[in-house]
């Protein structure tokens, strides 16, 4: 490091050391920011990771700027309600007997306040932030792929141009390195559309989650319900395409000693459990990777504001480190976005391929 840079860094750190004292934080640090106005890291991180009924863009001065989204509710007591979430005024008001609960079992969700004060959760099929992000990503995916497919269907043998140059290597990569090895040369055609769909869906949604401004920034693949649905798709396709050997081997696998099967069927139990554990692991892996990446980025970002409460100079000096780390984490998260899409698709292909195996000759090892 050059002498100038070293001196500059030493001065910055020394400045921050002389302008505040560190105190052990008390229990109420991190309490709600609505009433005290203090910065709350937990609040910031959770509000960015979880779903919400409006799309919060920014805050200028003291006014929040956010896009209100449609709220569609069906209550057992009062029927269907459709209105825009702006009526809630960022969660402070009650509308038509509904409000956004602030604490308890239904925190952050819409509840109906009954006459005696109890909170009842209605059937909630609102267009929330995640659903809106889903629609936007579907729009982007359709735009990309329909335009690329059109170019192919017009003239197949033409040299690729534009978006084709990006899509074609990825499709060939998935076909040659994921589909063909796992599914075999005869069967891969049937499942290639599904594998391509989940790969591009997960990859494009991961990348959109990394973009900090609208229309990106919604944590869609970090929502466990979304990843659960994707895993259920894989589970359904695996189960439907299970060959006879697949089911027979689950109960009576060849090549293992008899005492693992007969008095207490240990191997069958393990096999049947693994049928359900595999999609569960797919769910958790994608959800945890993406959410953890967002939490880390938000954590480094909120470091600046935590130091800002002590002194402005501390905040400026920390912001250098925070931005540097955020850039590094952003690059890493881009890699993780691709890797997680690849691993999800690879494992789905492997599970489908393993379920479809039949007429195998198991080598007898005597």
């Amino acid at each position: 490091m050059t002498r100038v840079l070293k001196t500059l860094l030493i001065i910055l750190f020394a400045l921050s050391a002389f302008t505040f004292q560190l105190k052990a934080s008390d229990e109420h640090a991190g309490a709600d920011t609505v009433s005290t106005g203090k910065f709350s890291t937990g609040e910031l991180i959770f509000s960015h990771i979880k779903d919400s009924y409006e799309w919060h863009i920014t805050k200028i001065g003291h006014t929040h700027i956010s896009i209100p989204l449609p709220v569609i509710l069906y209550s057992q007591q009062s029927g269907i309600h459709v209105f825009m979430s702006g009526k809630f005024h960022h969660g402070t008001e009650t509308y038509q007997g509904f409000k956004i609960a602030t604490e308890g079992k239904y925190a952050r969700k819409i509840v109906e306040v009954m006459a005696d004060g109890t909170e009842v959760k209605p059937w909630d099929i609102s267009i929330t932030k995640n659903v809106t992000s889903l629609f936007l990503s579907i729009l982007i995916i359709l735009l990309i792929f329909i335009s690329v497919a059109k170019r192919y269907s017009d003239n197949f043998a033409r040299a690729p141009k534009g978006l084709q140059n990006w899509i074609e290597p990825i499709i060939i990569f998935i076909r040659d390195d994921i589909a063909k090895p796992s599914l075999g040369n005869k069967n891969y055609q049937k499942f290639l559309p599904y594998l391509l769909t989940i790969f591009f869906f997960i990859f494009i949604n991961n990348v959109m989650g990394l973009i900090p401004f609208f229309p990106g920034g919604a944590n869609l693949t970090g929502d466990i319900t979304v990843t659960l649905v994707l895993a259920i798709f894989t589970f359904t396709i695996t189960t439907i395409n299970g060959s006879r050997d697949y089911w027979v081997h689950m109960v009576n696998a060849p090549g293992i000693p008899w005492w693992l099967k007969l008095p207490l069927p240990l191997m069958p139990i393990v096999e049947i459990l693994s049928v359900f554990i595999k999609p569960f692991v797919l769910t958790i892996r994608l959800f945890a990777n993406i959410t953890a990446g967002h939490i880390i980025a938000l954590g480094f970002y909120s470091l600046i504001f935590i130091f800002a409460e002590k002194s402005a100079a501390a905040a400026y000096s920390v912001s250098v480190i925070s931005v540097a780390f955020n850039v590094f984490m952003g690059i890493l998260e881009l890699l993780v976005a691709f890797i997680q899409a690849y691993v999800f698709t690879l494992l789905s292909a492997i599970y489908i391929g393993m379920a479809m195996e039949s007429h195998e000759v198991h080598a007898e090892t005597h």
Binding site: V281, I284, R285, A288, N289, A292, I339, Y342, V343, L346
Partner: protein, 85 residues
């Protein structure tokens, strides 16, 4: 008798649960670090032995690292649930 009462009181305390979650997350990080460290080490050794296979080895290394991280994330998710749910 007294120690039993103290232990029971400690066991029912939420603060101890949070400390447990913190320790659990740390252990998960250690496990992931050891596992992926071994993968990286073997991969680099294999590349040193046969530099032509570097591409293949690199893809396999990344896939294995992602799978092992999945296991570590299990533990992280459970600790997160303890801390915040």
């Amino acid at each position: 008798m007294i120690t039993l009462a103290v232990i029971l009181q400690v066991a029912a305390n939420m603060a101890i649960a949070k400390m447990g979650a913190g320790i659990g997350a740390g252990l998960a990080a250690i496990g992931a670090g050891i596992g992926i460290g071994r993968i990286g080490g073997s991969a680099v050794e294999a590349i040193a032995r046969q530099p032509e296979a570097a591409g293949d080895i690199r893809s396999n290394m990344i896939v294995s690292a992602a799978l092992i991280e999945g296991v570590a994330f299990f533990a992280i998710v459970i600790c997160f649930l303890v801390l915040f749910v």
